[in-house]
């Protein structure tokens, strides 16, 4: 059989195995975990950060990184809430919230693709600027909302499936499709794999890269809007640590930090592992001091296990 397929499957199963292990442990430790209510709970909690991880995965596959997503979440949340509380127009508020993400993504993308400066430092700077703007705009005060239809966007659910989980699934399906089945997706892999060769092949590398950051910003802003609805307010302190969480989810899911390799579904696994772990630590009432340690150990274990499986598979087949 095709080696590459085995590899990919093994890689997926390695991460899946880690997840299963956590699930089995949870099964024996508490009967609170496998209840429909808790699972839909976990689903809801995972979904928002998972959506950001999709954008991050694409950015990383293209050979970059985006440290501004956390700030974008906060910024779009506050601006969306502000527009909503001023105009009362839900559609407008959502549109403008998302626009923020697109604009920041565009600025990141243009700066990165036109200059070739390290995405790390560009997005760190824009993150700092966006964070500052949000604070200046809000004076660090949340913007409370009192709009019931808007609340439904993030808080509603269809039977036991929370709406955010549905958004997440749609996002994953759409972008997994884009990454595996379309030219645009193929080019993202190509650029991350060998940028020079992509230029030579006639791919519009700059435009493609820019678009990837726009998508990253857009998804972050989308998350910001949904959070605004869930929290029923625009929160300037939102988003702290979201960047690292998204990167972690992508890497656990098999995305290579040096670009060119990774999968959207892998990232879903990564996001689920992180989400389930957080939920589990709470359900088990693990002393909060130990939570950091456990999280670090599990992430380390996941990547090491994956590495182990991979080297095994590649030396066998």
């Amino acid at each position: 059989m095709d080696k590459r397929k085995i590899w990919l499957i093994a890689r997926k199963y390695a991460t899946l195995a880690v997840l299963c292990l956590i699930l089995v442990v949870m099964f024996f430790l508490t009967d609170r975990f496998f209840t429909i209510k808790n699972l839909s709970n976990v689903g809801r909690q995972i979904s928002l950060n998972a959506i950001i991880s999709v954008g991050m995965t694409m950015v990383i596959i293209s050979g970059g990184i985006d440290l501004s997503v956390g700030s974008v979440v906060a910024m779009s949340s506050c601006i969306c809430a502000s527009v909503l509380s001023i105009t009362g127009n839900i559609i407008l508020a959502i549109m403008i919230g998302m626009l923020i993400g697109v604009i920041v993504g565009l600025i990141n993308g243009l700066l990165i693709s036109k200059t070739g400066i390290a995405p790390f430092i560009i997005t760190l700077s824009t993150s700092s600027i966006c964070g500052g703007i949000t604070l200046v705009y809000t004076r660090a005060r949340p913007i409370p909302l009192n709009n019931t239809p808007f609340k439904a966007i993030g808080q509603g659910s269809i039977s036991f499936l929370p709406l955010p989980t549905i958004y997440m699934l749609i996002t994953f399906i759409v972008f997994a499709f884009i990454m595996t089945k379309t030219k645009f997706g193929r080019y993202i892999y190509a650029i991350g794999g060998n940028e020079k060769a992509s230029v030579v092949a006639g791919i519009r590398v700059k435009e493609t890269k820019t678009l990837v950051y726009v998508i990253g910003g857009f998804l972050a802003a989308f998350t910001g809007v949904i959070y605004t609805s869930r929290l029923s307010s625009g929160v300037p302190s939102l988003g702290a640590g979201f960047d690292m969480q998204a990167i972690t989810a992508a890497v656990i899911g098999g995305t290579s930090m040096s670009g060119g390799r990774g999968s959207i579904w892998g990232t879903l696994l990564g996001a689920v592992i992180i989400g389930v772990l957080n939920n589990a630590l709470n359900l088990l009432n693990v002393n909060s001091y130990y939570q950091n340690i456990v999280t670090g150990v599990v992430v380390l274990f996941a990547v090491l296990f994956d590495h182990f499986i991979q080297t095994r598979v590649s030396s066998k087949s």
Binding site: K3, R4, K181, T182, Y187, G193, G202, R204, G260
Partner: protein, 498 residues
């Protein structure tokens, strides 16, 4: 006659260095035009201008008589220009088929039809008579297989003007022959081909006209059938080269390296040989026959399954390259860009890179004088053309990069040197110089293992020849009156003897 493409007074400078000076060439329908010249003459640069990677400082390009503006590779493709670049331009984590059709994928709606890509790639490969697996990841291919992928990629574009910049540098005779057939067919169907190579005998086989570049100027255009090789060489390098393979013979001394029953699964089996001081062992074989893995295992880059390597008194097994160097073994890898050089480092830094290079005191503190001496000495000895020892190797032409790669290995003063494709992409003069270097090594009582896909080179430079076929030694003999055809026959599994 129909001129497909012409350049008019193209000039190009890099950082104040004029690399191309008023170059005007034209290429006709149904013609194969060869472009030759020393390393760094400006051939690749001219081609990169034609296909939109660099922008000319002045001058113009015409396609079918009309002046065109080519600003990016995709625009060159739109003009019907396709190129096989000298350096491989493949995406490691995409499959062969995905690479071949990169940027030109056929879609159904917006969905890429990968099945179709695979079958088309297979079809193309079949038409060309080459063997590739369209579904294999490029990162798992050998250099030669990658080169073939590049060729298929260019042919898939169905372009009118096809540029091939040293396409055969890593191919063996068999595949080279196939490529020539393809070129002839393309010519017959009215396409124009620009062919760049340092192997002049190849040029005689395919090209109708030959343009010679020297120091960025077009110095001569020859009609192939009216011209002797000598004239071309003279035009290229400014002097004639009387004898190409100058091999001195020295007295053979002690056994310098002995390889005993070496096996590495799926690569080679039960290989034994020895090389003595002052002797060159040439190893010939088709691509993928196992020579490269053999060299890598001997040097300690890959793990062996059984057998052993003895250098002097010392027995090595599954050792690190550092141990090899410590035991006076050196390896010049076949892929200088990936495994030979640190491209962003200077010539000086590359030459002194190895822990065994004599540029520091015992505490590891670099002695500037020793370092400069080593670099200057190497630049002089191996005739490396560069502005200064501080120049980054990425800015050198391929031949000069190759010399730096060799100089880097020899700076560790090894007793046994394995040379893998040492003259790949190197110009005539450079080859002669590299052969001179080999002679110098022999004079110093060193042992050389020469692995090359160029059989004339093996025949010209070896004391003994070993042929490997499918990972096994099928022939071994002193190099007396051997013929290219015989070696070929063994290498393709024709003769069966031991």
């Amino acid at each position: 006659m129909d001129v497909l493409l012409s350049t008019d007074k193209i000039c190009k400078s890099f950082m104040g260095n004029k690399v191309l000076n008023d170059i005007s060439i034209d290429i006709h329908k149904g013609e194969c035009l060869a472009l030759v010249g020393e390393n760094g003459a400006g051939k690749s640069t001219l081609m990169k201008i034609i296909c939109g990677i660099y922008k000319a400082d002045s001058g113009s390009i015409r396609v079918n008589g009309k002046i065109v503006n080519i600003n990016r590779p995709s625009e060159a493709q739109d003009q019907g220009i396709a190129i096989i670049h000298q350096e491989l331009n493949l995406i490691p984590n995409l499959t062969v088929a995905q690479n071949i059709f990169l940027g030109k994928e056929k879609t159904r709606g917006i969905i890429i039809d990968d099945k179709n890509l695979n079958s088309e790639a297979e079809l193309l490969a079949m038409k060309l008579g080459v063997k590739i697996n369209p579904d294999q990841l490029v990162s798992t291919l050998t250099v030669a297989e990658q080169q073939i992928t590049e060729i298929v990629k260019v042919l898939s574009q169905n372009a009118d003007i096809i540029i091939m910049d040293e396409p055969t540098a890593s191919l063996s005779i068999e595949e080279t022959g196939q490529l020539f057939e393809i070129i002839n067919e393309l010519r017959k169907s009215g396409k124009g081909i620009i062919y760049i190579s340092h192997r002049l005998e190849e040029i005689y086989k395919v090209a109708q006209r030959i343009c010679v570049l020297r120091d960025g100027r077009l110095v001569n255009t020859f009609i192939t059938e009216d011209t002797q090789i000598d004239a071309i060489v003279k035009s290229m390098v400014g002097q004639s080269i009387s004898e190409f393979y100058v091999k001195h013979t020295y007295e053979v001394g002690e056994v310098a390296i002995r390889v005993e029953n070496l096996s590495c699964k799926k690569e080679f089996y039960d290989i034994s040989f020895e090389v003595r001081e002052g002797e060159v062992l040439g190893i010939a074989g088709l691509m993928g026959a196992g020579q490269t893995p053999l060299a890598r295992c001997i040097y300690g880059l890959d793990k062996i399954d059984s057998g052993s390597i003895v250098i002097g008194e010392k027995k090595l097994k599954n050792h690190l390259p550092s141990i090899s160097i410590a035991n006076s073994l050196g390896l010049v890898t076949e892929n200088r860009k990936e495994e030979g050089l640190i491209l962003q480092m200077s010539i000086k830094e590359n030459i002194g890179l190895s822990p065994w290079a004599p540029i520091s005191n015992q505490k590891g503190i670099i002695n500037k004088k020793k370092e400069n001496d080593l670099a200057n000495h190497s630049i002089e000895k191996y005739d490396i053309k560069a502005n200064s020892p501080h120049q980054e190797t990425v800015l050198l032409s391929g031949g000069n990069q190759q010399k730096v790669a060799i100089a880097k290995v020899l700076a560790t003063n090894p007793k046994v040197v394995i040379l893998c494709e040492p003259t790949r992409g190197v110009d005539v003069n450079g080859k002669v110089e590299i052969y001179n270097i080999m002679n110098q090594l022999l004079e110093q009582k060193k042992a050389v293992i020469l692995i090359s896909s160029e059989i004339p080179e093996i025949l010209g430079m070896s004391d003994r020849i070993m042929v490997i076929y499918k990972g096994r030694i099928v022939y071994e003999a002193k190099n007396i009156d051997l013929k290219q055809e015989d070696i070929m026959a063994y290498a393709t599994g024709g003769h069966q003897n031991g």
